[in-house]
């Protein structure tokens, strides 16, 4: 049976949750509210940290949790929302090893999405793919677009197990939840 996009995302989240170092944070992680919320339904609620809507706070807390040795999975439902966390991604997470002579090498997993445009188009502020722009801004964060269902699990497996000092930002397509 062909793997479905949503099912692979859900399987990946449950794979991450099996590692005691991980926790999941953001808006609509412990509550329903986005398509991504449904991929977290089977995860122990104690591992889900529902945060106020405050992307800079969320990403800074993500960085702090990682500095303390955890592997946070920080969830931003759309690129448009992630833009509000750019300072903590570009000026901080991406620069930690340089600022500390390689002493701080936190591992962070960031999950975001390209807003769906079918069947409803959410208009200008809820769509867009900023992958290429972020690749230009970040040297120590690998940014992976999840094009096909079979891309998803290996990408999260790599994000969790990598030992090259990089963090990982994984980009989903909102439309593919229904289409692939």
């Amino acid at each position: 049976m062909a793997m479905k996009y949503f099912d692979e995302l859900k399987r990946s989240m449950e794979f991450l949750a099996a590692d005691p170092r991980t926790l999941f944070l953001g808006q609509a992680v412990a509550y329903p509210g986005t398509a991504m919320s449904n991929t977290l339904k089977e995860i122990d609620p104690r591992r889900l940290i529902e945060l106020p809507v405050d992307e800079d706070l969320q990403m800074g807390m993500t960085n702090g949790l990682a500095l303390a040795g955890l592997v946070p999975v920080s969830i931003f439902p759309r690129w448009n929302f992630l833009l509000l966390a750019v300072n903590q991604i570009v000026n901080h997470l991406d620069k930690f090893p340089d600022m500390s002579n390689g002493g701080y090498q936190p591992k962070v997993i960031i999950r975001t999405g390209i807003g769906s445009v079918r069947p409803l188009h959410p208009q200008h502020q809820h769509v867009g793919d900023y992958t290429d722009a972020f690749r230009l801004m970040c040297r120590r964060i690998e940014i992976i677009r999840l094009e096909e269902p079979h891309d998803i699990f290996p990408a999260y497996e790599k994000a969790l197990h990598r030992s090259d000092g990089l963090s990982t930002l994984l980009v989903e397509y909102g439309d593919y939840y229904n289409e692939k």
Binding site: I49, G64, A68, H92, G103, Y104
Partner: protein, 203 residues
Amino acid sequence: MITQLKAQDLIDFETEIAGFFNAAQIRAPIHLYSGNEEEMIGIFQDIRAEDWVLCSWRSHYQCLLKGVPREQLKAEIMAGRSISLCFPEYRVFSSAIVTGVLPIAVGIALAIQRAGGSERVHCFMGEMTSETGSAHECIKYATNHSLPIRFIVEDNGKSVCTDTRQTWNSPVLTYENSSHPLVHYYKYETKYPHAGAGARVQF
């Protein structure tokens, strides 16, 4: 207290660094403290080695008082890294971006709380930073979730050269007369400019 450093030890360190900078031997910005030595030593009375200390671009005193050896700190400063000094082995993290360390400190405190640890986080900021939305959000979150953290607001009245009170049109700052349980506020006057050591340096 981690070290036995006295106020004069701190003053002597900054004086030495100022001399190197004015002699064009440091090819990067430095941000020096002065006038707050006793206050800083008081703050460090109950900071332990296992605690975390987070700072801004001005952090020489915190590094020394957290136990970073004088010569190791000096080497980092001479190498041009004064602006964001980080020493993982001493649990010191600094950021040269306004508000940068605040949510990071909250995240570290949350990790400690979830692990049931006894460590604490001490997060330093200037008075302009303390007036930002980020400061309010971080202090509110930490307070409401009872996180093991303390925020220290250091008020020298200026953000670079800008008068903080004048820009906000507020003669009294948010934490100036506050008895907030997680905030320690103090005021001081420094003899040094925002960056550098007061002399024009020709590199």
